[in-house]
């Protein structure tokens, strides 16, 4: 239906005058082939000159060998249920009031726990139980699990206090003595197991030969300080606009600049619900961008800013000089 039949007023931000001016020859296939070749040359040049980064992944073995104190301090929080993962909430566990929310809007809570993780069992007790021919370790685990929860809490608290003053002596974890019962043997054994590389395989395998889900080892590693310290040195922290950075001096996901920016400004930079707040902002902005042609005021910005006169400057220049303009139609 034509616009006039529909009785709609011409809107310059929505409608156009049909072009009745000149056309000129344009070889679109040739343009595509030239662009394809030019881009191939550009990409090959960039790859040859700059290559690409590939910093090796952090393993539990490497972490526990390089910084056994940080490993042990993290491991005790997994055992006593105070680590970041243990208190995360959905989708890992049911920790109360842990899910991010904006008022009553709490989407993580709607879907609940989908990757259940019990850090004490999954990260500490379970892997040690799977060690064969280790009666001393199994006895320590038996004693720990047979104790009351208050006794476990006392041991855990005592170990946390002691491990805060632990030392790394040539890669060996040395924890001051204290009334921490079997917990010293448990965390010490877990540290030794990690240093041999056994914990990496145990956390990943989950009893299967093939596995491609790294959720548990990654969560364990991320609960410690070691990974974060490496990221800090590579300017990858959130406060360093890390989301759009890459290891080394390579360009990263620069297109995430707006997403990253919201984490730097109040109130998101201090909010415990920052991730949800930033996502809501970005979803609103993304929808606005998608449906921009339908949104009054926003769709008028191009006409108001007149940047188009720069893009079509030859066209407007030709209009201003009628004698030089091309003949209409072709």
């Amino acid at each position: 239906m034509s616009a006039r039949k529909a009785g709609r007023r011409f809107n310059p931000d929505r409608d156009v005058d049909e072009w009745r001016g000149a056309y000129f020859p344009y070889d679109i296939i040739k343009e595509a082939v030239v662009a394809l070749v030019a881009m191939a040359i550009l990409i090959v040049l960039l790859a040859v000159v700059f290559s690409s980064p590939d910093d090796p992944a952090v393993t539990l073995k490497r972490w526990s060998a390089v910084d056994p104190v940080d490993f042990a301090q993290t491991a005790i929080t997994e055992l006593d249920g105070t680590s970041g993962t243990a208190t995360y909430g959905p989708p890992y566990n049911n920790t109360a009031d842990a899910a991010q929310h904006i008022g009553f809007f709490e989407p993580a809570q709607w879907f609940g726990v989908h990757q259940p993780i019990d850090t004490a069992q999954d990260f500490v007790i379970g892997p040690l139980r799977r060690l064969p021919n280790q009666p001393r370790i199994h006895a320590a685990l038996d004693r720990y699990e047979a104790a009351s929860s208050s006794q476990q809490g006392n041991w855990n608290a005592a170990y946390e206090k002691a491990v805060a003053n632990a030392k790394d002596v040539g890669g060996r974890l040395v924890v001051p003595a204290g009334p921490y019962g079997p917990v010293g043997a448990i965390i010490g054994s877990l540290t030794s197991m990690a240093q041999t590389g056994g914990l990496d395989g145990t956390l990943l395998s989950e009893g299967q030969f093939y596995n491609t889900d790294y959720t548990k080892p990654l969560l364990f590693i991320a609960d410690g300080q070691y990974l974060a310290q490496l990221a800090q040195a590579q300017h990858l922290q959130g406060t360093q606009w890390g989301m759009m950075n890459e290891t080394g001096n390579y360009p990263g996901q620069a297109w995430l600049w707006l997403y990253t920016m919201w984490y730097q400004v109040a109130p998101m930079n201090t909010s415990s619900n920052a991730d949800l707040e930033v996502w809501v902002i970005m979803m609103v902005l993304t929808l606005a961008l998608i449906f921009l042609p339908f949104i009054p005021f926003l769709r008028s910005i191009p006409r108001w800013t007149r940047v188009y006169r720069l893009i079509w400057r030859r066209h407007y220049h030709a209009l201003a000089q009628p004698a030089l303009s091309a003949s209409p139609g072709s």
Binding site: S52, A57, P91, W110, W312
Partner: protein, 232 residues
């Protein structure tokens, strides 16, 4: 064996074939994309700015992203960590992605300042922006599946944002296998389909004309030559 031509000779199904889905689809396709519109050899005189180049540069860099990604897929996800050749192909993949987004963003800004949605081109704009958003997801899953320190850090940080939305219950950025499938199958298919639709719409609707001088102040032009969108 004899054959009977039941078309009208113009691609329009004859009466005998009017019920055929195949004939009707062919007719619709031929009506929507006549060859001289699908592959035009003439363009309007206002198409003179260098900024138009960024559209084709975006498409061609996307082609190189797909080609280099396919080579990496041929050899498997570990290849580029242990092979010099593999590392070079990974570098080609990385830089084609960086170039793709660089050109795409310039193309997007240029189209914004041209108000390129005018004249029944709103769906062209929508598909362009959606392909940009899906491309971001595709690139993001690529960063997650590098199998190195970078992917460890990105995944353990990104999980908080994804989990906060509730999507983390089903879309686990720490699950390498799941993310790899999204990166090499689902998202590339989505990007390719949406980008192809975008290009077809560009061909169908043509390049948006400049604002007429009389429109700059919002006044009506000649009433005989305008193309208006259906009511929003």
């Amino acid at each position: 064996m004899t054959t009977t031509d039941t078309t009208t000779g113009t691609g329009v199904p004859g009466e005998e074939d009017a019920h055929q889905w195949t004939a009707r689809v062919r007719h619709s396709a031929e009506s929507a994309f006549p060859p001289d519109q699908l592959l035009p050899d003439r363009q309007p005189a206002y198409l003179t700015s260098w900024v138009y180049v960024f559209g084709i540069l975006t498409v061609t860099t996307l082609a190189w992203v797909i080609v280099t990604g396919c080579i990496l897929a041929l050899m498997g996800p570990n290849w580029w960590h242990v092979s010099t050749t593999g590392h070079f192909v990974n570098s080609l993949h990385l830089w084609s992605v960086e170039a793709f987004f660089f050109f795409l963003v310039i193309h997007l800004w240029a189209k914004f300042f041209m108000a390129a949605w005018r004249g029944k081109r709103r769906l062209t704009w929508v598909t362009g922006v959606v392909s940009f958003v899906v491309s971001i997801a595709a690139a993001f899953t690529g960063y997650l599946t590098q199998q190195n320190f970078d992917s460890q850090w990105i995944s353990t940080q990104a999980k908080d944002g994804i989990n906060a939305t509730g999507a983390g219950a089903f879309w686990n950025v720490l699950n390498f296998g799941q993310m790899l499938m999204w990166h090499i199958v689902l998202l590339p298919i989505a990007v390719a389909i949406i980008a192809a639709l975008h290009v077809l719409l560009v061909r169908r609707r043509g390049i948006v004309p400049p604002f007429a001088d009389s429109h700059e102040q919002g006044t009506a032009p000649s009433p005989t030559a305008d193309v208006r969108d259906a009511p929003a």
